[in-house]
Symmetry: C2
Subunit: 224 residues, 2 copies
């Protein structure tokens, strides 16, 4: 009889194991992918002239790979290109806030969140087909179903867009859920305690000024 498959997980490294609250850390593929798939905006960190830089950037996931979007003129993209062989060391972090945790004591205030931190080396995507597919992924990550309902990039636009890829290899997730963890001695205090849930709210779509009035709102927008 074959053994039951082990849960598929990313290998833990010294920098993916947190120094505190280790019980909140997760390394399994399913948890990491779910957190990445729930978002489209990451914070991309890289080092420039010895100093850290953190920029908000759109991303999309395909399997164990992230694609990050930028113009060919943007700094991290240029740097990933300039250092094509070794690539650009980056840290990509995705965070979702799920709730504000109010405890009896100021000290135990917290937030509920899901985050993923990816350490690795980013490389510019130069292959035409990979780049085209990556751009579809980036559009669909923001609005699933949208890539097929827009004009694909032409050669000039493709040349003006830079995409970098980052393999999911050294990765960890961190999750906090649940209510406040108050000290027993504080429970008699008169302050309200609990969680204020937070989630993104998508409003009513606003048609572009130059949109022909006979073009209906697509169904995939209400699914977002």
């Amino acid at each position: 009889m074959p053994q039951a498959p082990k849960e598929l997980s990313f290998t833990r490294t010294e920098r993916t194991v947190p120094t505190r609250a280790r019980e909140r850390a997760a390394y399994d593929h399913e948890t990491v992918h779910a957190i990445l798939d729930a978002g489209y905006l990451c914070h991309l960190g890289f080092v420039r002239d010895g100093a850290p830089v953190v920029l908000p950037t759109l991303y999309g996931r395909v399997g164990h790979r992230l694609y990050l979007h930028g113009s060919t003129g943007s700094r991290p993209l240029r740097m990933a290109g300039e250092t094509a062989d070794p690539g650009l060391p980056v840290c990509v972090t995705v965070t979702h806030v799920d709730g504000l945790v109010l405890a009896k004591s100021a000290f135990h205030h917290s937030i509920n969140y899901r985050s993923v931190v990816v350490h690795g080396t980013a490389h510019q995507v130069t292959d035409h087909d990979e780049k085209t597919a990556a751009l579809d992924t980036l559009v669909d990550q923001v609005v699933p179903g949208r890539a097929a309902d827009s004009r694909p990039a032409n050669a000039k636009e493709l040349a003006a867009t830079a995409v970098i890829r980052l393999d999911l290899d050294e990765v960890s997730a961190k999750i906090r859920t649940g209510g406040p963890n108050d000290e027993p001695a504080d429970l008699a205090l008169p302050h309200w305690s609990g969680v204020l849930p937070v989630a993104p709210r998508y409003g009513t779509p606003v048609p572009a000024d130059d949109l022909a009035p006979d073009i209906a709102e697509p169904a995939y927008l209400s699914a977002r």
Copy 2:
């Protein structure tokens, strides 16, 4: 006659002037402060062993200073402490997503957002009064009015909490608003175009399991 006061702005530096979309950049205090005050979660970037690290962290603003929260065991806090004199070079980025911008062409898809990027050197806060005030700021940044309605940190809790400060000096904001910027040649395409607005939605507060039922929900929660 005195001259009309110049608009108060942060000084532009080589790294706060973007290489692209410069028309989206802003440096005035009012814009920067408003973006910072609309949030409570930043992405803190620092360099560790030559590689970038980006971690989600709570912050609060007091005038031209940010306070960032962590435990004394967390890496960036320890590093800021270890290097007390020179401090820890950091980049702190705050991003709010306001809308998903759907254009006729994949290339012109975008998001509406407001972001602030702060470059600087973080220092651990060691002064007792500054640290106490900073913790109040951190709690009130998440839920305005909450610091006065919770038990303040005691000596043991204060010792277990690390706070770092970062002066707002080398700072820029970046804002995108409005609809898609489609190519005129694309306007006849049959795809819907426009903006799907996004904003945080705060749900119904969930009382803690151990909250006495006679403690009412505070008014400041509905203001959040």
